[in-house]
């Protein structure tokens, strides 16, 4: 109730003069009247008595204000007064107001965008109950998030720290609900998934741990709410319906609640199925293979009172046991915990680093904007020194004037912040609706809608920056001597050679130069990475995904089917070559396996000679991918199960295992199961996991020799098809040829270079885009900064310039006098910024491939860019300085 009254009194103060103020006025007036009465009684006439009484009373306004303050009630009222006055002042200089608001809108908008991305992806937990105690388990020193299913079972059953542990996988499949087949994304989850996360169904029921009875025992589907809405039209009769998943009957059990989007921030599955049915869903069941770390993530809630350190110690003791019990499969079994939303540190680590860096740069932008506005404010205060002096002379306190200046600054920053926030909300909405991987994974989103946190941060930033740049002219105002100013008019203060404004401008320009430098380094790096050698040629090639398992093929029928597939595609007109690969290089990671030298007999993981990328390929892949063979031969269709085991290895593999690239052909190495493999060819090195990686060893194995019970290679193999014609037409021809082969098989075709842009190059593209935008903002800010300073100094010195012209100064001399200082500051700031920027780009090198600060092109680019910016920014002031007409100026004085 009390607070209600307070609000009412504040509101009253806001809209009309408060009764308290009226009462104070009345009391002071009554005092003067009483005194006048006394004076009148002593013989003065009434008018004279009142005049004397007023004089004796002293500074009426001042005491009224002080009395009011003593009552403690006029904060809001003064604020409103100040705000009104500020608005009036700002309306008088619309140019200044507009420039300030836009500058701040840019800066605060940039910060709001970066912060809300950070907020959405890193700060905000998953939308599940008690998300704060939910952790994913990472393994080994390089913090791998993937595990093998038998290891998961051991972790789940032996730990004492988690309420329960769940495991899940993300995969694609073909769903046939009666009409045409679609390829949705789904999560294969353990039976305890929903129960452990505490999710309740919004329709029907979920599956439970008790539903799992061995392989393919639980053919159930739980639909995501949005998928139910879009594909089943909110049909409540969907529960109990049987649909065909990869041509196997699955029963729809229920629908998840609307706000449950799964346990990955950026990928919402269309539905969930029990992981025990992996054989049906993926075409192959690897749940019994301890060495196959195909489970995407293991996670669970910590028990109440258990700390992270205790849980890690608990897991590590299980790890020690696993290493002893399964020396062939398990090594380096140490564990750590991470937040599950971004697939742990696999995606979360680089994302955190990148966003922190971006946040830092955005902060710099805001700082530059504040420096910019600070110098504008200082200039404005100098111009207004007469007004300030007058107000001081009339009895206003310095505190009051400062308060008004701050009100003006905060007003500008609030409006600027609001504009910036509005812009960023529009941008973020667009970003959230964006499907960056529409070709590979249409369910992938960037869920970055702003929330209260974002609004709050934007507000705080706005107010803080208002105070920051409002504080710049404080000293100037405190030192104003009203009598001097009023007496002498606007005298230019001489003496100090370096002013606060100069320092601010240098700081601002160097910040902008940092931004310009880093964005140039990033752009150069991106261009470099687009033209670097990946070990294959993505242009004029396409990836044809024809998933055999989703078409119902399994086991022995697969290799034959695959050969038919390749032959069919090869016969399509316009196709030059085609070959299959289980997972194309640079396609969301790679499969790896450890290998041993031929002489090794103790095949435990710690004795491995190398960990190599594994690619199961068909004959013709090298030709189709344009991966050149340095020596030896390609595979033929005769390298099948009945032939000796062979491999093509890359140059790095050869030099690591055989310490020679020439003698490796014909040599042998061993795989963990003891198989001896003969090297028949050497291929060039390439990029496999990411474009920034150092050379990695890789081995290519003939797909016909890879034991298909063991891996998932054939099931999701991709055809690489090279063409010399219009790819769109060829793609259509391939599609129709394949649907003739099997109408029920979902086929996806993407251009390889486009796919690379969406996956391996995505991070550097985004980084470059972000840095490019920030660099552009930096450039704009430095233009406004230099322009403001130059325009101001020209306008201050018009008279002096006029005199110089009258005395016969040359154009160059006039320019030198008018803008020499601006250019000197620009050069100084740019140099400082360039050096800082080059230091900063060391960090960039980790994200943007080929980003090197020691690039003469970047150096000259930055110098040229800053010079150009300087030229653009000083153009108008320079014109004004040159067009000075001494006669008019002299006449005006």
């Amino acid at each position: 109730m009390k607070s209600l009254a307070w609000i009412r009194s504040v509101a009253a103060k806001f809209f009309h003069r408060s009764p308290v103020a009226d009462e104070t006025e009345e009391e002071l007036r009554s005092h003067i009247e009483l005194r006048a009465d006394d004076l009148e009684r002593s013989g003065l006439d009434r008018a004279e008595a009142e005049r004397r009484a007023r004089i004796e009373f002293g500074g009426y306004e001042r005491y009224r204000e002080e009395s009011h303050e003593a009552l403690g009630g006029n904060f809001i009222e003064t604020l409103v007064q100040d705000a009104r006055f500020s608005l009036r002042m700002l309306r008088k200089s619309p140019g200044f107001t507009l420039v300030s608001i836009l500058t701040l809108a840019l800066a605060i908008g940039a910060n709001a965008v970066v912060f809300s991305i950070m907020n959405a992806l890193i700060l905000r937990p998953l939308r599940v109950p008690h998300a704060e105690s939910l952790y994913a388990v990472e393994r080994g020193q390089d913090q791998a998030i993937n595990h093998s299913f038998p290891d998961y079972l051991d972790l789940r059953d032996r730990n004492r720290s988690f309420e329960d542990l769940v495991a899940y996988n993300v995969t694609g499949a073909a769903l046939d609900t009666g009409n045409n087949p679609t390829s949705p994304w789904l999560m294969e989850v353990t039976g305890n998934y929903f129960d452990a996360l505490g999710i309740r169904p919004s329709l029907g029921r979920f599956f439970h741990r008790s539903d799992e009875h061995g392989p393919d025992s639980a053919p159930y589907i739980v639909l995501r709410y949005a998928y139910w809405h879009s594909h089943f039209h909110d049909d409540h009769g969907v529960v109990g319906r049987v649909v065909q998943l990869n041509k196997h009957p699955f029963t729809i059990l229920g629908v998840a609640p609307p706000d449950f989007q799964g346990t990955l921030l950026f990928l919402a599955p269309d539905f969930w199925v029990p992981i025990v049915n992996q054989g049906q869903v993926e075409g192959v069941d690897v749940l019994n293979e301890r060495g196959n770390r195909g489970i995407l993530m293991v996670m669970g809630h910590l028990k109440p009172g258990v700390t992270q350190a205790q849980a890690v110690a608990d897991l590590n003791s299980i790890g020690t046991y696993l290493e002893k019990a399964y020396p062939k499969d398990d090594s380096h079994m140490t564990f750590s915990l991470t937040s599950p939303g971004l697939a742990g540190d696999w995606l979360g680590g680089p994302m955190r680093e990148f966003l922190t860096g971006l946040m830092l740069l955005a902060g710099l932008i805001l700082l530059a904007a504040c420096a910019n506005l600070g110098s504008l404010f200082a200039a404005r205060a100098a111009d207004r020194s007469r007004e300030i002096a007058l107000r001081l002379a009339l009895g206003s306190s310095r505190r009051r004037i400062l308060r008004q200046v701050f009100t003006e600054a905060v007003l500008i920053s609030l409006v600027g912040g609001a504009v910036g926030l509005a812009g960023s909300v529009v941008l973020l909405r667009g970003l959230s609706a964006w499907r960056p991987f529409s070709t590979v994974a249409p369910n992938m989103t960037v869920p970055v809608n702003p929330d209260t946190n974002v609004y709050l941060v934007a507000l705080l930033l706005a107010i803080a920056s208002g105070f920051l740049f409002g504080a710049v002219p404080v000293r100037q105002i405190l030192r104003t001597n009203p009598y001097e100013v009023v007496k002498a008019g606007l005298s230019r203060r001489t003496g100090r050679r370096i002013t606060v404004r100069d320092l601010l401008l240098v700081a601002q320009i160097s910040i902008c130069a940092v931004l310009v430098t880093s964005s140039m380094v990033a752009v150069r790096g991106l261009i470099g990475s687009l033209h670097s050698n990946f070990g294959f040629e993505p242009r004029n090639a396409m990836l044809v995904g024809a998933s055999l398992s989703t078409a119902g093929f399994s086991g022995d029928s697969m290799p034959a089917m695959q050969k038919r597939l390749i032959d069919t595609v090869r016969n399509v007109p316009g196709v030059k070559s085609a070959g299959s690969v289980d997972r194309p290089p640079l396609y969301f990671g790679a499969n790896t396996a450890i290998v041993f030298t031929d002489k090794t007999t103790d095949l435990r993981p710690s004795n491995a000679a190398a960990e190599a990328m594994v690619y199961n390929i068909s004959p013709g892949y090298f030709e189709a991918a344009h991966t050149s063979l340095l020596s030896g031969r390609d595979f033929t269709w005769h390298d099948d199960e009945n032939a000796p085991r062979v491999a093509v290895v890359n140059r790095e593999f050869a030099s690591r295992i055989f310490s020679s690239t020439t003698n490796a052909v014909g040599g042998y190495y061993k795989r963990p199961d003891g198989t001896r493999i003969q090297v028949v060819g050497i291929a060039e090195d390439g990029k496999y996991e990411k474009v920034t990686e150092a050379p990695q060893p890789a081995m290519f194995l003939p797909t016909m020799q890879s034991p298909h019970v063991r891996g998932t290679h054939i099931t999701d193999s991709t055809l690489v098809v090279r063409t010399d014609r219009n790819p769109q037409q060829v793609a259509a021809a391939i599609k129709s040829a394949l649907s003739e082969l099997d109408p029920g098989m979902p086929v996806t075709i993407q251009m390889w270079d486009k796919q690379l842009n969406d996956s391996a190059l995505f991070a550097s593209r985004m980084a470059t885009l972000a840095l490019g935008v920030l660099g552009l903002m930096g450039a704009v800010l430095s233009i406004t900064g230099i322009f403001g300073m130059a325009a101001y100094s020209v306008s201050k010195r018009l008279r002096e310039l006029g005199i110089r012209v009258a005395l016969g100064a040359q154009r160059s001399e006039v320019l030198q006098a008018a803008l020499g200082r601006a250019f000197k500051l620009l050069a100084f700031g740019s140099a400082a910024g360039l050096i800082l920027g080059l230091l900063a780009t060391r960090v960039l090198a980790a994200i943007v491939y080929g980003a090197t600060p020691r690039d003469p092109l970047v150096l000259t680019g930055v110098v040229l860019a800053m010079a150009l910016l300087g030229l653009v920014a000083t153009w108008i002031p320079a014109q004004r300085a040159l067009s000075v007409d001494p006669l008019i100026l002299l006449r005006e004085e």
Partner: protein, 113 residues
């Protein structure tokens, strides 16, 4: 004018409390009372009284009510609250101690040290 003394900081509040302790007064009346009891020796600018008065009201030492002055003008009358009376007593004692100590200190002669 020259024989009037500037007020020491903080003493105006005590003077106001003293003036009001002798009976309810309006602002102008307080000034007159202070002049009267100090023998016109203390200089107070008239307007300066009000911020001090309002501060004391806010601290709960004084309370104010509108009333009518002796020559029929509306005026606000101040009187001590219970807390004001306590504070007045404390401040008076404090002031006397300081004044005594100062007097003794300033009267000290070199042979007494």
């Amino acid at each position: 004018m020259t024989d009037q003394a500037q007020l020491l900081p903080g003493t105006l509040d005590l003077l106001i409390l003293k003036a009001v302790s002798l009976g309810p007064l309006h602002g102008y009346g307080i000034l007159l009372r202070i002049g009267q009891i100090s023998g016109q020796a203390l200089l107070i600018e008239q307007g300066a009284l009000y911020p001090a008065l309002f501060r004391l009201v806010r601290q709960g030492l004084l309370k104010a009510n509108w009333g009518v002055s002796e020559n029929n003008r509306r005026a606000k009358f101040y009187e001590l609250t219970a807390a004001g009376r306590d504070r007045f007593r404390e401040e008076t004692e404090g002031w006397n101690r300081v004044a005594t100590a100062m007097a003794v200190a300033l009267a000290a002669q070199s042979e007494e040290i």
